[in-house]
């Protein structure tokens, strides 16, 4: 049974989506039941996978029992397993929120949501670059439809540009894969890593393929010249959908980390591919997003800019290819994902209570719910990186790990001044929303308990990740150490004998 653990995070959402499609006549409550049951199963299977991955060897699952590099493999190293658990937790909370009534605003919400989970989990687990493309497409196709869920002009308009941009990105991805296959003769990541270490290929073409691959991942991760799509797309999406989308930028970041650590860093010709440009662009992303957050006039736009800030902050890490920096980035990734999602859900709860003013950052009817104010306060402290919650710890770890690097001073200046501006913005938003009232009758909508519970769970992640910082950070350290010693990954996938890889070099 343990041998099959790696496939469950992909199979469970697929089975749930098929069941929900088959049982769509049975009503929304059955769909919700199946979805939430699958979410719980998904969390359990991901936790099981984390436990297995934390052992001595890397669980490798050969689909159809075809050995790599001929067959496609799923590789559940510590990073992949940890990301599946994070995805499962986030998806569970978003689904719980959506079950409070959002899923009723359009058709087929539940199957699409499960398919999106399947795509994200597959993208984290796969050990094959073409398979990564396929899972990206599964994830994107579901996200196109989820983005439009609920309807409205803003969503149609955001959908159009989002779909076109991602289709262009997919074309670029395929060109990169074609170049890589034409140059190296393989698309299995471990095999690519092995072949890049020998000098029997066209170095210029391989570097071009690598750069195109990184460009596609940077589009998903919203690195600066490619990040203009993010704010209006995420702001247009419905709250639970946007909450799940928060992990999609992290898919791009983890893909960059993985390709850099496993394939590029050990290769003499590719090791410097990210050096010198990724960190400056990441810092510019942080600055750009901070300015965007400063001038945001609606809370949902502010939440979208927060996602972009955390993406920029995380992208300062991959170029260094050091285990301690990656470990700090992984802790930051976990907490920023959860608090980013919490912000989107909070935005919806707040705007429901403000009538026509909705989520505009200006005085409106009195909110009259102390728990909402307390929740916003906690989430804001976590997002701003103030002690004592996990935002502070994440930023502290990242800054202290990056201090010794060449760009250390610039990173400190940018991240700290961005943090200061975010504190100013958050305190302005908080005082406008909660303290300045207009003389209007308060709006009291019927908020379902599912929505409230989901928001509380996500906000609670800030304090919880602070209390349990030691085990999470230790796991992140082990994951980063494993990621930056790619020999074990390559051996785990190809077997120590590597008899398949002794094919002739391509002309």
């Amino acid at each position: 049974m343990n041998a099959h653990a790696a496939i469950f995070p992909i199979l469970i959402p697929l089975a749930a989506a098929l069941l929900q499609l088959a049982g769509r006549h049975l009503g929304l409550s059955v769909q919700r039941g199946i979805g939430l049951f699958a979410a719980v199963l998904g969390i359990l299977s991901a936790a099981w996978l984390v436990q297995l991955a934390d052992g001595d060897s890397i669980p490798v699952y050969a689909l159809g029992d075809w050995a790599a590099p001929v067959g496609i493999v799923l590789v559940a190293d510590r990073l992949a397993a940890g990301m599946t658990l994070l995805t499962a937790l986030l998806a569970g909370a978003s689904l719980l929120y959506a079950s409070g009534g959002f899923d009723n605003r359009g058709r087929h919400f539940h199957p699409l949501f499960q398919l999106q989970i399947m795509g994200i989990q597959g993208a984290f687990l796969t050990g094959d670059l073409f398979n990564l493309f396929v899972f990206f497409e599964v994830m994107l196709l579901a996200s196109y439809t989820l983005l439009a869920h609920g309807g409205g002009l803003a969503r149609s308009r955001a959908s159009l540009s989002y779909v076109v941009l991602n289709l262009a990105g997919s074309a670029l991805f395929l060109i990169a894969l074609g170049l890589l296959y034409g140059t190296l003769g393989t698309l299995n990541l471990a095999d690519v890593a092995l072949r890049l270490q020998t000098a029997e290929h066209n170095i210029a073409l391989a570097r071009l393929a690598g750069a195109l691959l990184i460009a596609v991942f940077a589009l998903k991760a919203a690195l600066l010249p490619l990040s203009f799509w993010l704010p209006h797309t995420y702001a247009a999406a419905g709250a639970p959908v946007a909450a799940l989308f928060v992990i999609m930028t992290k898919v791009g970041i983890v893909a960059i980390l993985r390709v850099q650590a496993i394939a590029f860093a050990p290769s003499p010709t590719m090791a410097d591919l990210l050096t010198g440009w990724l960190t400056p662009l990441a810092l510019m992303t942080v600055l750009f997003a901070t300015l965007g957050a400063l001038v945001a006039t609606r809370l949902r736009y502010f939440a979208a800019w927060l996602v972009l800030i955390s993406a920029g902050t995380l992208l300062t890490a991959p170029a260094h290819a050091q285990a301690d920096i990656t470990a700090a980035a992984l802790y930051y990734l976990v907490q920023s994902t959860l608090v980013g999602a919490a912000f989107f859900l909070l935005t919806e709860l707040i705007s429901e209570r403000r009538g026509e003013v909705a989520d505009a950052i200006q005085p409106g009817p009195s909110l009259q719910s102390p728990w909402l104010a307390l929740g916003f306060f906690t989430a804001a402290i976590t997002a701003a990186g103030l002690p004592p919650f996990s935002g502070f710890l994440g930023k502290l770890m990242l800054l202290s790990a990056l201090r010794e690097t060449t760009a250390g001073a610039a990173i400190w200046v940018v991240l700290l001044s961005a943090g200061f501006l975010i504190i100013v913005t958050l305190s302005r938003i908080g005082s406008r929303l909660f303290w300045q009232h207009k003389e209007q009758p308060p709006v009291s909508p019927a908020t379902s308990w599912q929505s409230v519970l989901a928001v509380l769970l996500l906000i609670g992640a800030g304090p919880l990740l602070s209390i349990f910082a030691r085990p999470v950070a230790d796991y992140a350290t082990r994951a980063a150490t494993q990621l930056h010693a790619p020999g074990a990954y390559v051996d785990g996938v190809l077997g120590t004998s590597r008899h398949f890889t002794l094919r002739e070099a391509r002309p």
Partner: protein, 108 residues
């Protein structure tokens, strides 16, 4: 033959990118379609161009690499589905804005 295929891919890509940068949705969809043709040809060529060779390995016989053919098939199916969805999105945006501009403004 390499020159012909390379030229075809180049022309398709150039036309695709030109059309993608237009401001109306229909040329954009056509541009993406052309670009995906170019990409599919490119993927196909990544296994090297061979004439009269089956994608089967037999003793002593010439063969062509079967993997890019499988990749192209997957890419065609995905690209086809995506284009169909994009057309639906474009139609819906046009129905809501009364205009097929990519940044469609609200009906006034």
């Amino acid at each position: 033959m390499e020159a012909v295929v390379a030229t075809a891919i180049g022309i398709l890509t150039a036309c695709g990118i030109f059309l993608m940068l237009r401001a109306r949705t229909f040329p954009v969809v056509l541009g993406l379609t052309l670009l995906s043709y170019a990409v599919n040809l490119f993927l196909f060529a990544s296994g090297r161009l061979m004439l009269d060779a089956p994608p089967l390995i037999r003793d002593g016989a010439r063969y062509t690499d079967p993997l890019p053919q499988a990749l192209v098939l997957t890419a065609i199916v995905i690209g086809f589905g995506m284009t169909a969805y994009l057309l639906m999105v474009a139609l819906r945006a046009m129905a809501e804005t009364g205009d097929d501009h990519v940044d469609g403004r609200e009906k006034s």
